[in-house]
Symmetry: C2
Subunit: 341 residues, 2 copies
C-alpha cells in the first residue's frame, strides 16, 4: 500500500498529517442502534460475543450507517479474563465473578492461554469482518489494560471505590505485581493473535485507571502497561492506550509509549497534547453527553474539538463510549460536522 493510499485512520495513528481528522466512536456498535437492539433481542450479550457471524454483523452495522473511518471488534473486556481461568457471569446488572482473586494463592488461578483454542470466536470474528470491510477502513482489535482487568479479577464486579483492589495491592504488593504481569502476558498473547487474525490497530482500554493515585500508578500500573504496549507495537500495528480518568497525570501516561493516547472529555485536547509532551498522537475527546442535546450545540463543540485536536496525529472520537439513549440522527450530524470541519 502506498503512503497516499494508507487509510486516514492509520496515518493519524502514526502522527501524520491528514486532510481531515478520521472519526470513529467508542461503543459505536451498541444499543443506540436499532439494528443492534434487533440482534440483541434474539441472543444474550455473551452469545453475541461468542458467535462470530453475529459479532461480525454488529461490528459492521455502524460502518454501513455512518461510514466511520475505522471499525472496532465487537467483544467484551472480560472475554479474555474468562480464558485466563476466572469464571465470569454476565447478568442484567453487569459482569460478576463468582470466585474473585482475594488472596495471594488465588493469583495461581490466573494463567496465559492459547487465544485460538480458548477465544477462537474472537479471531474468527476478526477474519469475517476483514473480509467485509473496504480497504480504507481498518479494523481495531482491543483488550482491557492490565490494571482494569485486574480490578474485575479482584473486585469480582465493576468496582465503585476499588477498595478491594487497592487493599490487595497494599497488602500483597509482590503478588499484585505478579497478577498484573500475568494478566499483561495473557493479554499480549491475546492481542497478538488478534493482529495475526487481521486486526490493523489495537486499542487498550484502561477504563478504571482514573481511580489510582500517582504513587499507585508508578508502583503498579506503569510497568505491565508499558510492557504490553511495547509487545503489541513490536508486531507492527499502532497501539492506542485509553486511560479513562487519568487526564490529570498525562505526563506519566506518556511513559507507556503508545502511538496514540485516548483523551477523555475532562481536558481540552490541545492541552492534553501539550501535557503529553508531543510523545503520542491523540484521540478524542467530545463529551458523549453532547449527543443528547441540540444539534447546534453538538456541531459547535465537535468543530471546536477538531480545531483543538488539529489535523496531524488526531483521531476524532468521543471522550467515552456512546450511551444507549443517543438518537441516531445526532450521530449522523456529528459525523457530518467532523468531516466538514
Amino acid at each position: 500500500m502506498t503512503a497516499a493510499s494508507t487509510p486516514l485512520f492509520l496515518r493519524a495513528c502514526r502522527g501524520e498529517a491528514t486532510p481531515r481528522a478520521p472519526i470513529w466512536i467508542m461503543r459505536q456498535a451498541g444499543r443506540y442502534l436499532p439494528e443492534y437492539r434487533a440482534v440483541r433481542e434474539k441472543v444474550s450479550f455473551l452469545e453475541l460475543c461468542k458467535t462470530p457471524a453475529l459479532a461480525a454483523e454488529v461490528t459492521l452495522q455502524p460502518l454501513r450507517r455512518f461510514g466511520f473511518d475505522a471499525a472496532i471488534l465487537f467483544s467484551d473486556l472480560l472475554v479474555p479474563l474468562e480464558a485466563m481461568g476466572l469464571e465470569v457471569q454476565f447478568t442484567e446488572k453487569g459482569p460478576g465473578l463468582p470466585a474473585p482473586v482475594r488472596t495471594p494463592a488465588d493469583v495461581g488461578r490466573v494463567a496465559p492461554f492459547d487465544p485460538e483454542a480458548r477465544t477462537g470466536f474472537v479471531m474468527e470474528t476478526i477474519r469475517l469482518v476483514r473480509k467485509e470491510l473496504p480497504a480504507d477502513v481498518p479494523l481495531i482489535g482491543f483488550a482491557g489494560a492490565p490494571f482494569t482487568v485486574a480490578t474485575y479479577a479482584i473486585e469480582g464486579k465493576t468496582g465503585k471505590t476499588f477498595g478491594e483492589t487497592k487493599k490487595f495491592f497494599y497488602q500483597h504488593p509482590a503478588e499484585a505485581r505478579r497478577l498484573l504481569a500475568l494478566i499483561g502476558e495473557a493479554t499480549r498473547d491475546y492481542l497478538l493473535a488478534q493482529v495475526r487474525a487481521g486486526a490493523q490497530a489495537i486499542q487498550i482500554f484502561d477504563s478504571w485507571v482514573g481511580v489510582v493515585s500517582p504513587d499507585d500508578w508508578d508502583d503498579f500500573v506503569l510497568e505491565p502497561t508499558r510492557a504490553l504496549v511495547a509487545a503489541v507495537r513490536a508486531s507492527g500495528v499502532p497501539v492506542i492506550y485509553f486511560p479513562n480518568g487519568a487526564t490529570t497525570i498525562l505526563d506519566r501516561v506518556a511513559k507507556v509509549g503508545a502511538d496514540v493516547v485516548g483523551i477523555d472529555w475532562r481536558l481540552p485536547i490541545d492541552e492534553a497534547r501539550a501535557r503529553l509532551g508531543g510523545a503520542a498522537a491523540v484521540q478524542g475527546n467530545l463529551d458523549p453527553s453532547l449527543l443528547l442535546g441540540p444539534v447546534s450545540v453538538l456541531e459547535k463543540r465537535a468543530v471546536d474539538v477538531v480545531r483543538r485536536g488539529g489535523k496531524r496525529g488526531h483521531i476524532f472520537n468521543l471522550g467515552h463510549g456512546i450511551t444507549p439513549e443517543v438518537p441516531v440522527d445526532n450521530v449522523a450530524a456529528l459525523v457530518a460536522a467532523v468531516r466538514g470541519a
Copy 2:
C-alpha cells in the same frame, strides 16, 4: 484571639505557616465508627440529621476518639435542596427525588428559603456543637456546590453519566444558569445562617463536578460557584472548595477564589498547589483506600503527603471521604503519623 492562639486549622486556611499540618478527615463522623453505628441503629439517617442533640453527638464522636484539629457539622448535601422546595426521600439505596427538575417550568419550583425556619435543626446542631468544642477546634459548616446540588435536582438521584443534567444544560442553557443561580443564592443564605449560628469555616463540596468538560465548567459552573464563595467569604470565615475529580482543571478551579482548595488523591498535592498557581491553600490528599491496607504503607504515604503538602497553607485530609469498612485503629495510626511528620 491573638495570632498565636488562633487554631492551627484556621491558620492553615489563611495560608499561614503552622508548626504541624492540622488534620481532619472527610466523613469523619460516619459508619466506620462503632459509636456512630450505635446511634444509627436507633434512628434513620434523616432523623439523625434532623435531631440536633443526635447530630451534635455524632459530630463530636470522632473528636473525642482522635482529637482532630477541626469538627465538621453532621448533615447531608440534600438537606437544603429539600428546603428549596424539592421533595427528597432517603432510602437504603441512597437519596431520591420523586419529582426532579426536567423542564424549564420545573425551575420555578426551586426557591431560596429562610434557613432558621426551614433548617433550624442544622443551626441548632451548630450551636450545640460549639458549646462542647474546645477553643482550639473550629467547627466547619458545609453545603453542596451549585453544580452538585443541581445534579441531584435534575437527575433525581446520585448520577452515573449525568446525561440528564448535561442534556438540560445544552437544551435550556438560560434556564440551567437560572437554576444554578437559584441554588447558589439559597445555599448562600443557608451557609451564612450556619456562620451566624457558629460555623467558623465553610466547606463547599462539589462532589460530581469531575464529570463536566472544561467548556461546561466555563459556561455553567464557574460563575455560580465563584459568587457563592465570594458571598460566604464576605462574612469573614474561610471557605474550602472541594472540586472532586477536577484536579485536571485546577487552573480553572483557582478562579473560584476559595481560601482553600480540597485536592482529591489523583495528583500529588505539591503538583496540585503548583497548578493552582499559589492562589489558595490546599487540603488533602491521601487516597482513602490506604486506610484499608497495612499500617506501614499508610504511614509512609501519609508522611509523604505531609512532606509534599508542606506546613504552610496545608490542611491534611483524605482525598475523599473515609469508607465504612476502615478499621478505627488505622485512623488512630494515621493521626499519629501526620502529627509526628
